[in-house]
C-alpha cells in the first residue's frame, strides 16, 4: 500500500483535490430551507391536521407589521399607517389584511345596529383624535387586535397566500415600508419574518463561522504541531471532506437547513483527528528512517492504519444512528456527516501519506519533534503519576460527577420556539416581545370544528372552549365565531335582556344573526373563522407565550373540551407542529443515541475482540452524554434542533479518543507487560496527540460564539464541555478503569503493530525509572 501511495502520490493528490473542488463548486447552488415545517415528515398527524385546516381557512401563519410611535396615536401616524396598509393591500401574495382601518366593531346605537370600521377617518384635529382614542378604548375586543393598550404601537396583520414566494412578498413589504419614509418606526414579526431572518443568518453564519472556525483551528494546530506542513495536511482533509459533504446537498436535491450547519462542525471535530495523528507521528518516524519516504509511510500506516480505520468506522456507525431520526434534516445530517467521515478516512489513509511524502524533509522533521506538543513532557509525567497512584479515587470522582449530572437531566427542558434562535437584542426578538405582550402573539394553534356550526350545542361547545382557553396563561388572544355571535347579540339585545352576550338556544336564531351581520358587515370578516357552508369553524388561538409546555397544556384542554362538542375537532397550526416536533426531537434523539451507543459498543467489542472492551470503550461516550444533558438541565440550556444533535459530535470525538488510547496501551503492554508503566507510556505518547486534537477542536468551536443564532452559540459552549468530558474520559477514566480492573482485552501477546519506533519512545518522550516513576523528560 505504501509503495503504491509513493508511486502514485501526485495522482492521488490531484484526484483528491479535483474531486473536492468539483463538490465545493456545487455549494453556491445549494438552496436554504428555513421552514421548520419541512423538517417534519408530512405524515405526522399535526402536519396533516394543519394541512386540512389550511385547505379550508387558508394559511394559518401570520405576518405582523408593527408601527411604533412614542407620541402615541396621532393623525400623522395614522396617515402613515393608512398609506402603508394601502401599499400592502396592493402586493401580490397577500390573502388578507387586518388593520385599524378595516377591523370592525359591532355596536348598537340609538336602536340601530352597525358593524363599522374602528378607524373610519383620520382625525382632523385634537378633539377628533381624542374622540377616536375614546372609541378605541371602548371597543377593546376589536381594538386589541390592532392597537397596543397604550396606543403607541399599531399593527397590520397579514396572511400570505401561496401565489407568490414568501421571499418576494417580504421584499414587497420592505419596499412598502421604505416608501413610508419612516422605516425606523416599523418592525416586522411572525413566523414568515422568523424564516427570513433564519435564511439570512444561516448564510451569514456559513460565511463567517466556518472560515473563523477553520482559521482558529489553523492557528492552534500551528502552535501545537510546530510546522505549516503538518498543519496543512489535516486541515486539507477537513476542508475537502466538508466541501464534499456540503456539495452533496444540492447534488442530492436537498436544501441547507439550520441543522446542516452541524455538518462542517462535526467534520471539523472529527475529520482532522486522523490527519493530526498521522502528521505528528510522521516526523518522528521519518527522522528515525533518515528521510526515506517509503519506509516512513509504511511504518506510519502499519502503526496507525488500524486504529484510524476502527475509529472512523465506529464514528460512521454512530453518526448513521441519525438516519432513524424522525426529523428529516437530522437524517440528512446523519448521511452527510457519515459520508464526510468516510471521505476523511480515505483521504487520511491515502492523500495524507502522499502529501507528507511530497513535503518530506529531514531538517524540518528534526525541528518539529522538538517543538511539537502544547504541554511539556513533565505535564504528562505528572498526570500519569496521579492516575497510576490514585485510580480508585479517579473512578469515585468520575462516578460522583456522573451522578450529579444525572440529576441535571431531570431538569432538562425542550425549546422549539424559533424566536429563541435569535439573541434578545435582535430586531425580531424585540418585535416578538411587542407582539406577544400587546397583540396576543404571532404563533397560533388552530382548532377546526366540523359539524353543523349553527347548531346551538356546537356553538356553545365552541364558546366553552374559547372561554376556557382565554383564561389559560400563555394564550394571548382567541378568535372564534362564538365570540362574534356574542358580539352580535350585544347589538340586538339590551344589557338587561337575557340574550345579551350569549349564544342563542336555537339554530334559527344563530342563522338569523349571521344574516343580520351580513346586511351591515361583510362575510369576508369571518373567513378565517367560518366557512361559507357553515359546516366548519376555526378557533384561532394566538400564543403570547409560545412555549412547548403552554402548547401541550392547551392541547390537553382542547382534547378534554372536544368531548362536549357534538362535532369533529381537529387541532393543528404551526405551534402544534412545533410541539410535535419537540416530541419527535427528543424521541428521535433517544433512538439515535441508543442506536449509536449499541453500534459503538458492538464495534468496539469487535475491535478489541471482547465485550468488556466494548463496554470499557463506551464508558467515556456514555458519561459525556450524561454530563452534557445534565449540564444543559442545570444551566437551563434547552434541547432545540441544534443542541439535540450535540451527542452526534461526541460520538465521533469520544470514540476516537478512546480507541486511540486503548490501542496505544495495548501496544505498550505488549512491550513491557507492566500496566502502570504501559499507562504512563501510552499517556505520554498518544495522550499528547489526543490533547492536541481536543484543544484544536475546542478552539475551532469557539468560533460558534460569533453565530447570529443563540442556540448555535450555546452549541459552541456545550461542544467545548462535551469534548472536555470526552478528553477526561479517555485520558483519566479509561486509564483508571483499566488500572483498577486490569481487564484481559488490553493484553495482546503478539502485537504486529509494534514497530521499532516504540523502542525509541523513552528517548522521544520521557524517561522512566524501574519502579515506573518519572525521572524527567527527554533531553
Amino acid at each position: 500500500m505504501s509503495r503504491l501511495i509513493i508511486k502514485y502520490r501526485w495522482l492521488i493528490i490531484s484526484m483528491c483535490f479535483t474531486g473536492g473542488l468539483f463538490f465545493i463548486l456545487l455549494i453556491p447552488s445549494a438552496r436554504t430551507d428555513p421552514d421548520m415545517r419541512n423538517y417534519i415528515p408530512g405524515n405526522m398527524p399535526s402536519v396533516m391536521s394543519t394541512d386540512s385546516i389550511e385547505e379550508v381557512f387558508g394559511f394559518q401563519d401570520m405576518m405582523l407589521v408593527l408601527y411604533s410611535d412614542s407620541s402615541g396615536l396621532t393623525s400623522e401616524g395614522l396617515e402613515i399607517l393608512r398609506k402603508t396598509e394601502a401599499g400592502l393591500k396592493e402586493l401580490n401574495g397577500i390573502s388578507s389584511v387586518i388593520s385599524p382601518f378595516n377591523i370592525r366593531t359591532i355596536k348598537s346605537e340609538d336602536g340601530m345596529m352597525a358593524a363599522e370600521r374602528l378607524v373610519e377617518e383620520i382625525p382632523a384635529n385634537d378633539a377628533e383624535t381624542d374622540d377616536l382614542k375614546k372609541k378605541i378604548l371602548e371597543n377593546s375586543y376589536a381594538a386589541s387586535a390592532v392597537f397596543s393598550p397604550d396606543l403607541k404601537t399599531s399593527v397590520i396583520t397579514l396572511t400570505l397566500s401561496e401565489k407568490t414566494t414568501e421571499n418576494k412578498i417580504l421584499e414587497g413589504i420592505d419596499s412598502v415600508i421604505a416608501a413610508s419614509g419612516n422605516e425606523h418606526k416599523f418592525s416586522i414579526g411572525g413566523l414568515p419574518a422568523v424564516r427570513r431572518y433564519i435564511m439570512k443568518d444561516v448564510r451569514k453564519d456559513a460565511f463567517i463561522i466556518v472560515p473563523a472556525a477553520l482559521f482558529i483551528m489553523l492557528m492552534v494546530l500551528r502552535i501545537s504541531l510546530g510546522s505549516w506542513k503538518n498543519v496543512l495536511t489535516p486541515f486539507t482533509v477537513v476542508a475537502l471532506a466538508t466541501g464534499i459533504s456540503i456539495g452533496l446537498i444540492p447534488l442530492l436535491g436537498w436544501k441547507i437547513s439550520i441543522i446542516s450547519l452541524l455538518i462542517p462542525v462535526i467534520l471539523i471535530a472529527v475529520a482532522n483527528n486522523y490527519g493530526i495523528y498521522l502528521a505528528s507521528l510522521y516526523d518522528r518516524i521519518n527522522r528515525k528512517n533518515n528521510g526515506s519516504a517509503q519506509s516512513t509511510i509504511a511504518e506510519l500506516l502499519k502503526l496507525l492504519k488500524t486504529p484510524i480505520l476502527y475509529s472512523g468506522l465506529t464514528t460512521i456507525a454512530g453518526l448513521l444512528g441519525l438516519v432513524i431520526h424522525s426529523i428529516i434534516p437530522a437524517r440528512q445530517v446523519g448521511i452527510l456527516a457519515s459520508t464526510g467521515v468516510a471521505i476523511a478516512l480515505l483521504l487520511s489513509l491515502f492523500m495524507v501519506p502522499a502529501m507528507l511524502s511530497v513535503s518530506n524533509s529531514r531538517d524540518n522533521a528534526t525541528k518539529i519533534t522538538k517543538t511539537a506538543g502544547i504541554f511539556p513532557e513533565s505535564f504528562w509525567v505528572r498526570i500519569s503519576d496521579i492516575i497510576t497512584t490514585h485510580p480508585g479515587k479517579i473512578l469515585i470522582a468520575t462516578g460522583a460527577i456522573i451522578l450529579i449530572f444525572m440529576a441535571g437531566i431531570l431538569r432538562i427542558r425542550t425549546d422549539t420556539n424559533q424566536e429563541h434562535f435569535f439573541p434578545e437584542n435582535h430586531p425580531l426578538r424585540k418585535a416578538s416581545e411587542i407582539i406577544n405582550t400587546n397583540f396576543g402573539g404571532s404563533q397560533t394553534i388552530s382548532v377546526m370544528i366540523t359539524g353543523d356550526i349553527k347548531d346551538p350545542q356546537v356553538m356553545k361547545g365552541i364558546d366553552r372552549l374559547t372561554t376556557r382557553i382565554e383564561a389559560e396563561k400563555g394564550a394571548g388572544k382567541v378568535f372564534s365565531i362564538s365570540a362574534a355571535v356574542r358580539e352580535m347579540t350585544k347589538a340586538v339585545y339590551t344589557r338587561e335582556e337575557d340574550g345579551y352576550n350569549s349564544i342563542p338556544d336555537s339554530r334559527e336564531a344563530i342563522a338569523q344573526l349571521f344574516e343580520l351581520y351580513y346586511m351591515s358587515g361583510d362575510s369576508e370578516d369571518f373567513k378565517q373563522l367560518l366557512n361559507p357552508e357553515n359546516d366548519k369553524a376555526n378557533i384561532l388561538i394566538r400564543l403570547s407565550v409560545p412555549e412547548h409546555e403552554v402548547i401541550e397544556r392547551i392541547k390537553g384542554i382542547i382534547k378534554e373540551s372536544a368531548k362536549d362538542i357534538p362535532a369533529r375537532v381537529t387541532t393543528g397550526g404551526y405551534a402544534v407542529i412545533m410541539s410535535d416536533f419537540t416530541g419527535s426531537l427528543v424521541k428521535g434523539q433517544v433512538f439515535s443515541l441508543v442506536f449509536a451507543l449499541v453500534a459503538v459498543f458492538l464495534l468496539l467489542s469487535l475491535v478489541f475482540r471482547s465485550f468488556k472492551g466494548g463496554l470499557t470503550g463506551s464508558v467515556p461516550l456514555a458519561a459525556s452524554i450524561i454530563i452534557l444533558f445534565g449540564f444543559m438541565g442545570f444551566t437551563g440550556i434547552a434541547i432545540d434542533p441544534a443542541t439535540a444533535l450535540l451527542s452526534s459530535v461526541m460520538i465521533g470525538v469520544g470514540v476516537d479518543f478512546t480507541i486511540q488510547y486503548i490501542w496505544r496501551l495495548r501496544i505498550e503492554l505488549a512491550e513491557e507487560n507492566n500496566i502502570k508503566s504501559a499507562t504512563r507510556a501510552a499517556l505520554t505518547s498518544i495522550g499528547q496527540s489526543i490533547m492536541t486534537n481536543a484543544l484544536t477542536v475546542m478552539a475551532g468551536f469557539s468560533a460558534l460564539i460569533f453565530s447570529g443564532f443563540t442556540s448555535i452559540r450555546f452549541f459552541g459552549y456545550l461542544v467545548v464541555i462535551s469534548i472536555a468530558s470526552c478528553l477526561a474520559g479517555a485520558l483519566l477514566t479509561i486509564p483508571a478503569l483499566i488500572l483498577k480492573f486490569n481487564p484481559s482485552f488490553v493484553r495482546v501477546k503478539d502485537y504486529n503493530q509494534k514497530t521499532d519506533i516504540y523502542e525509541n519512545k523513552v528517548s522521544d518522550s520521557a524517561t522512566f525509572s524501574a519502579d515506573g516513576k518519572s525521572i524527567g523528560p527527554a533531553a
Binding site: E90, S108, G111, M112, M113, A114, A115, E116, K454, A491, V492, Y493, G499, P504, S506, R507, E508, A509, A511, Q512, L513, E515, L516, Y518, M519, S520, D522, S523, P532, E533
Partner: protein, 223 residues
Amino acid sequence: MTLLGSFKATLNLTITEKNGSVRSRVISMASKSYPDGTEKRLIKFLEPADVRGTGMLITDYKTSSDEMWIYLPALKKTRRIAATEQGRNFMNSEFSNYDMSSPALSDFKSRHLEGSGQNNQWIIESIPVNPDKISEYGFSRKVSYFTIDGYRVKKMEFFDRNGNMFKTIEVMDLKQGDNGKYIISEMKSSNLLNGRSSVIKFTNISMNTPVEDSLFSLQSLEQ
C-alpha cells in the same frame, strides 16, 4: 337592474364556491318607486329554512341616507341597520348592493370606448367622479356592453384601484315589462379574486301591479 314603478318577484340566489359547493336562497321581493325618487323595498327570506321569515325593509332616499330595517323571527327582534355601502356584498353574494340598485348617473363620468358603436354594441366606460365615490361603489372603473338595438346591457366588467379587473356580471336573461322597459331577470356575477360566482334569477315577476304602501311598514315586516 332597472326598477319600474312597482315590482314583485321571487328571487333565487345561488352562490357557488371555488370548490364547487353551492348554497341557495329564495327570497320574495316587492318594491315601489315614488314620485320624489324614493324607492321602498320589502324582502323576505323563504329559504333556507333556518332564516325563513327573516325580512328586510329598505328605503332608498334620493337626498338622504338610506334606511334599512331587519326582522329576525327567531329572536323576535326588529333592528335598524346602518346604511350599507353600495360596494358591500348583497346578501353575502358576489353582487354588491350597487348592482341591485339604480345609482345616480351624476356619480360617474361616462364615455364611449374604442369600438363602441360597432357590431351592434355600445361600450361605455363609467368612472366614479371622486375617491369617495370609488370607496362607496367599490370599484374605480366599470365597462358596460350594451346592444345598440334596445339598449340592453349584456355584460359589465369591474376594475379595482390598480386597474385590475376583479369582477364581471353577465346578463343571462331579460324580461320586458308592460311599459316596454326591460328588466334583468337572470344575471351571473363572477368574482375573479376568490373564484366564487353568484347567480340571481327572478321568477314570478309582476311589474306595475298595484302594491299597497302599507306593505312597506314595520308591521308588515314582522308578519
